[in-house]
Each structure stands twice: as C-alpha cells, then as structure tokens.
C-alpha cells in the first residue's frame, strides 16, 4: 500500500481563518508585526549590529509595503515555511515560541483575509541573493532571484481586495499599528508620501512612576483610577499594572484586561487573566511565558495559566494588606466604592476576610452597622438566612434587644457565619424563623387560661392555611400579631396545588416529594398580648366576633408581609372587613335612632 497526501483546499482554509479563527480582519497587521519582530530577534541572535526598525509605507490605490530589517529568508527557508503551512506539524511545535519559520507562514496567511496576492521580497542575513516570492490564496506561488540589490530584511507588499480597502487607509493602519505595537521595543515608522511618523514611542505603564501610570490610565479610559497596583508573576514572566476603578462594577460585567504577549497586544478584552473576585480592577500587562491559543487572541488554560492567575491575585491581595496600614484613608474609600467586590473576595479568602470584615457593613435590626461596631456592642448575633425572614422580625427583634443580621444579600450569609474565625467569643446562631416567637415572654398562668379558647378557635380557623397560633407578650405594643413563615412553606403551598392539578401518576410523585423530603412546616401567627386590641378580642368572649378578628388579623399580616393571598384568604379578608363595616354601620344607625 502506498501512503498519499490528500489535497487541502487552501482557499477553504483561508476562508476558515478569516471568518472563524480571527475575530477581526485587522489582525493581519498584528501578524505582519509579529513576523517582523521575530525576524529582528533572529538577526540579533546572529550577532549582527544594526538599528532595528519596522517601516510601513502606504501607496495610492490601497497598497501597503511592510518592511523589517530582520534576518530575511533563504530560498530553502521559504520552501520550508510554505511546506509547513499545510503540513500536519503537531500543535505544540506550531506554538513553540521559537519556531520562527512555522509561525511566519501562518502569520502570512492572515494577509489573504484582506488581499488576493502577496509579494514578498527578502534578502537573508545568511546568503547573498535577494528573492521575490509571489503567493496567491489558492496555494500557487512563484519564486525568483532578483538582480537588484536590496538591504537585508523582508518587505511584504499587499494590495487591498474589494471591500477591504479601509484597512489600507492611513488612519486605519496607523490605528492598528498603535493598537498592536504600542509597546514594541523596536521603532515602527509609518510613511505616506513625505509624511513620516514613529507610532510607538510610549513607555508601558508598568515601567512608569505611579503618577505617570495613573495619567496614562486616565488618557486610555477617560477616567482616573483610585490607585494603581503593580503586578508581577515570575513564572508567567508577567509585568503589569492593575487600575482600581473609580466606580463600582457589577459581578456580571464582562472584564476587559489588556494583555500583551512579548510586548505585542494579544487582546484588549481578556476576561480571565485575573481571578474572578478581582472585578474592581482593570489590568494592563505583558507576559513572556504564557502560551497563546491558535488564534493568538487568548491563552491556553493550562496549569501554568491558573498558577499565574493565582500569583497575580496575590499581588492584589498583598497590596490591599499593605495599603490598610500605609494609607487607611484610601483603603476606606476603596472599600466604600467596591463594596460588592470586596465582599466576594472576603468570602473566598481567609486572609482578606480578616482584613476586611471589620470594615464591612451589614443590615441589622439596629440599622446598618459595620462589623466592628456590631462586635463591640453585641457578642451574640442571630443570622437570618433570607431577606424575607429578616423583614418578618426586624422591627420586633429590636424591641427585644436582639441583634439580627440580614444574611439575605449575596455573600452576607457566608461572611457572618465566619465571624468566630476572627472574634473567638462571638456567638452566631442561625435564626429559626418558626421558633422565633418562642423567645417572647410567656403569659402568666391566669392569662394563659383566659386565652386558651381564643387560641383554640384561631388554630381551628387557620388550620386549612397551614398556620398555627400562639400568644406571647412582646414589644412593641402597637404590633398586634407577628406572622412567621419560612421559604419552604411557600414551596409546599405550590406543591399542594400541583398535587391537585397533576395527573394521577404525577400526583403520586409530588406526594412522595412532599412527604418524604419535606416536613410540612406550619407558619406561625403569634398574637401580642401587650397589644390592647388583642386583649379586647380575647376578652370579648363572642366567638363570632373573635372569628372576624382572627381572620382579619391573619390576612392583614399576610398583606403587611407582601405575601400573595390565595383565593380563600382573599375571601376571608373581604368577608371579615364587610362584617366589621356592617357592625360599625349598625352601631352608627342604632346610635342615631
């Protein structure tokens, strides 16, 4: 049997590249820059002394010449890189940082996204004769020796194909060169007619003094950062800065860090190079060691990548730890602005938790307080798991001198739960909402006897609504009843409805879920014997009137707690209201008579 190569349709490949691999046609500039830089590096390695330079010259009719004075290519190298483009070299070899030729070919392909022919004139630093290579996207090419002498290096000529002319306009080329090559260590000169300009004189912000770096950031993003954090990662070969944003950002917001690979812009919207919790900073950095993906727009997420990310995270952490001692004023301001982010960080990391927790504020039954104050004034706290539970009891809890913290907001629950890690003597108890009213003062024996029939009636009336009754004495007196329910009560109401609605098979299934996985918890309605109206209702001894009171207090408490009323509950409320109205009117009419 004979091994044969199958034909790869290069045209199809180009289409694939232009439409799928690269997100923007403008990358051909990046690829040309990369080729130029690699060639210059290679020539330096040969020991040549020369002033390295890249020149981009624009001509009329949308033609562009891209020249570098790097090592150039020999005839055999040209053959080789062309052979490499379509060959099945393994991915790792293709990505290897030093495989100049392999990358050269792939990089050149990106030009076919914007042109139909590439003319390349090159003179190698190793051999004498200049060469001209002409290639087309269908894979055909010619190569010939040139008679004229040209300097060592490579020039690529390309002419825009239809619809891509704008990529050859002065303003666009200039913008792209700056975009990708701003920090390249070799001067890039843009030439049109007699006008010449070096596009990349900038010093990268990680080489700047703090004030300059802040100025630079302001120019770039139109806003002044609160501070700038230096970033280093030895194993990732990373130098960079992270700007602390002057406004708060949401967790969901897409991060856009600007990342350079060997000083060439890789992406200005890389979202995962810093840890997820660090969403309050915007990074600009350069790496020498991370490996890019095939499109060269992001990095391969291997173990090295994650280690580097952790290392960068530590830079930010260490900065914050130092800052709290060095500049407490700024530290506080940062906390003020990036509250949500800092809470997320504190949950993730024990060290940061210790650093931040005393400065973080929480909603409590005594109003919003920072944890330092909370711990100074109370060693025992109750933690409510949901906003709903907190709301049910916040007002009453304060009257009982209980400090309840609302754990219903993102991260707050986890943060409060960890308090004993920092304050060893702190006592954090989870609020069991249905047991809450047990904390209130019980009635004395005589009162208890008196309220018994009223309670029995209440239990009987509210049984269909899965609610049990109790009477205690509590502050404040103007609250007649406290209605408590937990989130599972809501779910079980849904489940009951489903069981009624479902077909027989699924009614059984719902029944099993409810019965076996959930204890049916009853909601609690606790009457306040401290409230004059409740005492009157108990004292009136008229079961009819008592029933109306109970129904009205119950439905009113649901309304106050924003709970949706069922049909039956609505009917109760209407019925009892109308009855009261009637009684009032009867009295009025009777009084007049």
């Amino acid at each position: 049997m004979e091994n044969k190569n199958f034909q790869v349709n290069l045209q199809g490949l180009i289409d694939l590249l232009s439409n799928h691999l690269y997100s923007d046609a403008g990358v051909f500039i990046r690829e040309l820059l990369q080729n130029g830089m690699d060639a210059i590096t290679a020539r330096r390695r040969l020991g040549h002394q020369f002033d390295a330079k890249v020149t981009v010259e624009l001509y009329g009719s949308h033609t562009l010449a891209f020249h570098d004075n790097g090592c150039g290519l020999t005839a055999s190298e040209i053959e080789q890189f062309l052979a490499r483009i379509g060959s099945t070299t393994k991915k790792e070899q293709l990505d290897a940082a030093d495989d100049f030729i392999g990358q050269f070919g792939v990089g050149l392909l990106a030009c076919f996204v914007v042109c139909d022919e590439i003319v390349l004139i090159t003179r190698s630093a190793l051999e004498g004769d200049p060469l001209e290579w002409k290639g087309r996207p269908d894979g055909t090419y010619e190569i010939r020796k040139l008679k004229n002498q040209v300097p060592i290096g490579t020039t690529v000529y390309i002419k825009a194909k239809a619809d891509y002319e704008e990529y050859f306009d002065y303003y666009r080329v200039s913008e792209l060169l700056e975009h990708y090559g701003e920090f390249l260590p070799v001067p890039i000169e843009l030439v049109e007619d007699k006008h010449k300009r070096i596009v990349n004189e900038a010093v990268p912000p990680w080489r700047m003094e703090k004030k300059e770096a802040l100025d630079y950031g302001e120019k770039l993003r139109y806003q002044r950062a609160m501070d700038v954090i230096p970033l280093h990662s030895a194993i990732g070969g990373i130098e960079g800065v992270a700007y602390i944003l002057p406004y708060s950002v949401s967790l969901q917001e897409e991060k856009k860090h600007k990342v350079y690979l060997k000083q060439m812009l890789l992406s200005d919207k890389l979202n995962n190079i810093l840890p997820q919790w660090a969403f309050f900073v915007n990074g600009i950095m350069n790496t020498d060691s991370l490996r890019p993906t095939a499109s060269r727009e992001s990095f391969q997420e291997n173990e090295l990548f994650y280690t580097v990310r952790d290392e960068l995270g530590s830079c930010i952490k260490q900065y914050l730890i130092d800052l709290s001692a060095r500049d407490p004023e700024l530290f506080k301001r940062i906390i003020g602005v990036h509250y949500a982010s800092i809470k997320a960080m504190a949950v993730e990391d024990d060290e940061l938790y210790e650093l931040f927790i005393r400065h973080l504020s929480f909603e409590t039954s005594y109003g919003t307080m920072d944890m330092d104050t909370i711990m100074k004034e109370h060693s025992a706290v109750l933690l409510a798991a949901t906003l709903d539970e907190f709301r049910q009891i916040a007002r009453v809890a304060k009257s009982q001198e209980l400090l309840v913290i609302n754990g219903g907001y993102v991260h707050d629950f986890a943060l409060v739960r960890k308090i004993p890690d920092v304050w060893e003597n702190a006592d954090v108890a989870l609020l069991d909402i249905l047991q809450f009213s047990n904390r209130f003062q019980e009635l004395d024996r005589a009162d208890q006897l008196e309220v018994e029939p009223f309670l029995a009636l209440s239990d009987e009336l509210l049984q269909p609504h899965q609610c049990r009754s109790a009477i205690r004495w509590f502050e404040p007196a103007d609250v007649p009843v406290l209605y408590n329910t937990n989130e599972e009560v809501q779910f079980l109401k849904l489940a009951e409805q489903s069981e009624k609605e479902a077909n027989p098979l699924f009614a059984d299934i719902v029944h099993v879920v409810m019965d076996e996985l959930y204890d049916v918890p009853y909601a609690r309605l606790c009457y306040n014997y401290n409230n004059p109206m409740v005492r009157k209702a108990v004292a009136c001894k008229d079961p009819k009137l008592q029933q109306v009171c109970i129904e009205l207090l119950y439905t009113q408490s649901l309304l106050m707690g924003h709970y949706p009323l069922s049909q039956e509950e609505l009917r109760l409320m209407n019925g009892s209201l109308l009855q009261f109205m009637n009684m009032g009117l009867d009295q009025a009419v009777g009084g007049e008579a």
Binding site: T386, L387, V410, L494, N503, L505, V513, E516, L517
Partner: protein, 351 residues
C-alpha cells in the same frame, strides 16, 4: 401585580443560584396564579423547573413539572410540546434518584415518556439514553448495554441532548463498565476542547478523575483535578465537589478542607437522596483521613457532621436504594470506594 411579577422575575436574573432565587420565583408563580394568565403561570413554572436544577433543588422540578404536564395534557395545542418533552427528559434523569419512588412508578414514567415521544414524532434516542443512566445507577450493566446499543442506533433529532452532553455520557457509560481506555477515548474530543456546551466540560472533569486514577495516570489526574477545581461552580455540582474532595483528601489535604468548607452547608441542605448519598460518602472518606491526625482547626458544621452520623446516613441511603432496586449495588459501592481510597493513599505515600 403585573409590575410586581415582572420585578420579581427581573430580580432573579441577577441573583446567584440558590434557594433565595427559588423563593422569589415561587412568589412570582403565586402572583401569576392569582392575578395573571394561565400562560404566565405556565411559563413561570417552566422557568422555575430549570432554575430548580441549577439551584441545587432538583426535587422541586418534579413539583413544577407535574403542574405543567397536566396543563399541557389538557390543552396540547396551547403549549410547546418540545419544551415540555425537554423538561420530561430532566424528570427521567431525576426520578430514580429518590429511593422512595417505587420501581413501578419509575417504570410508568418511562413508559409515559416513551409513548409521548412517539406521539409527538420524536425518536426514542433520549428514552434509551435515560434508561442507560437508570440501569447503570443500579449496576445492571447487561440491560444498560442493550439500551446503549438502542441509544446509539436511534436517530438524533430535536429532542436529543446536545452532542457534547451525549459524548460525555458515552464516556461515562464505558467507565461504569470499567472499560476505562475506551471511555477515555470517548471523552477525547471534549478534553481537546472540540466539543463543549453549557455544562460540558465542567461535568466531564469529575467523571474523568476516578478512571484516570484507576489507570494510574497520576499526572493527567492532577491536571484534570486542577481544571475541575477552577471551573466547577454552582450548587448543581454537588456530586462533582465530592469527587474532587476525595481526590484532594489523598493529594492535598488543605485543598480538601477548603472544598469541604465551601460545600458542606450546600450538601447538608441538599435533599435529593442520590446526590446526597454520593456527596456524603465523599465527605466520609475525607473525614476519616482528616481525623487520623490531631487537628487544631475545627471544621464547619462539626457538631452535625461526625463520622458516626456520616456512616449512618450513607448506610441508610444505600440500603434504601438497594431495597428499591432489589440489589446490594449501593452498599457494595461504599466498600468499593473505601477500598479505592485506601489503595490510592498507599500509592501516594510511596511517591
């Protein structure tokens, strides 16, 4: 009320997955039931069904689904048959995870699904796929093999799982048959990043870890675990957290502790018995190792989570599954796991 309803729904979009999110959705459903149209009530329950899975309360899917299915059966022209059938697949994947569901009930659910597939013009591919999972959960590999064959030969259509999800399960199937090499091959396109979706590769890493260790591919296991540690995030991955915790129990105790602390409250609140069983079994293996040394640190929830309690809980869950399935597969699974971790510890000690 429409405003309040919209507001609630809007709020849930930006909330992290968890019970608080479900509580708001429940309130929205009640409002829809009382004041809005039946379509609103239906749609908000359909949303709730998928959120229930993501929020770590898969049993609640059964409740909202039961209501929707009944409405659909009464007025099949009102609602999309594709959506309800898609949810039905989820139900098939959950129903056997409760030992309290009898084999007969489960059988009826499978039959009903099958019938509806045919009625609404879908192939039986997802039916066979779910049968494979159900059979594997009981260790009935011969039946699983028969269903697997049917699964692979039934045509793909709009009701089939996405290709990445299916590929992932092909791998799982071979792992469960202890054909690890074959399984690994199946997962290759996923591991090379050629196939992915909303839950792949997150799911894949966890499935891969055990087989890699069995095959003594320690380096690759290390990489896989590191990736899993980075990407696994959300209450629906309880079982995966357990798998990772086991691995780090052997290789990196501080990391195992971190995972434990991060997940134990979720695990304790998790009701679905199957997931709970596997997670608590992992916790037990972790705690056995942890307790071997004297420790200053007090672990979270240490009053409840003791070795005795874990032993009792895992044993009784296994017994309940075995009683329903008429086998001793789950009880044996506990022993097998203990044996595995013992071996693994020996290997890692040596190196």
């Amino acid at each position: 009320m429409k405003n309040r309803y919209n507001n609630l729904r809007y709020q849930t979009w930006s909330m992290p997955d968890g019970k608080a999110k479900l509580a708001l959705m429940e309130e929205a459903i009640r409002i829809a039931d009382q004041y809005l149209t039946e379509e609103d009530a239906y749609q908000s329950r359909m949303d709730y069904s998928s959120a229930a899975l993501e929020c770590g309360c898969p049993e609640r899917l059964l409740v909202s689904f039961a209501w929707c299915l009944s409405k659909f059966e009464r007025q099949p022209d009102q609602y999309s048959s594709h959506s309800i059938m898609w949810h039905y697949k989820w139900v098939l994947n959950q129903i056997w995870r409760m030992p309290q569901m009898t084999a007969e009930m489960i059988g009826q659910v499978f039959d009903d699904f099958k019938e509806k597939c045919l009625h609404y013009g879908y192939t039986l591919r997802p039916y066979y796929q779910q049968q494979v999972s159900y059979m594997l959960s009981q260790g009935r590999t011969e039946e699983a093999a028969l269903y697997y064959k049917e699964w692979r030969s039934a045509a793909r259509d709009g009701l089939s799982d996405c290709k990445a999800c299916e590929q992932n399960l092909f791998g799982v199937y071979y792992f469960r048959l202890n054909q690890n090499k074959r399984g690994l091959q199946m997962l290759k396109p996923i591991m090379e990043g050629r196939m992915s979706c909303g839950s792949i590769p997150e799911n894949t890493y966890g499935n891969l870890l055990g087989p890699l260790l069995k095959m003594k591919e320690y380096e690759q296991a290390k990489e896989t675990a590191a990736k899993a540690y980075q990407v696994t995030n959300g209450p629906q991955y309880l079982k995966e957290y357990g798998t990772l915790m086991e691995y780090y129990t052997v290789t990196d105790m501080p990391k195992a502790v971190k995972l434990y602390e991060r997940t134990i409250h979720l695990g304790l609140a998790f009701k679905m018995p199957w997931d709970r069983f596997h997670y608590l079994l992992s916790v037990r293996l972790f705690l056995q190792e942890w307790s071997k040394a004297r420790r200053r640190k007090k672990l979270a929830a240490s009053e409840q989570v003791t070795l005795e309690w874990l032993e009792q809980e895992t044993r009784s869950l296994a017994a309940a599954f075995d009683a329903r399935n008429g086998s001793d597969y789950c009880t044996l699974h506990i022993e097998e796991k203990e044996e595995q971790i013992r071996k693994l510890i020996a290997v890692y000690r040596k190196s």
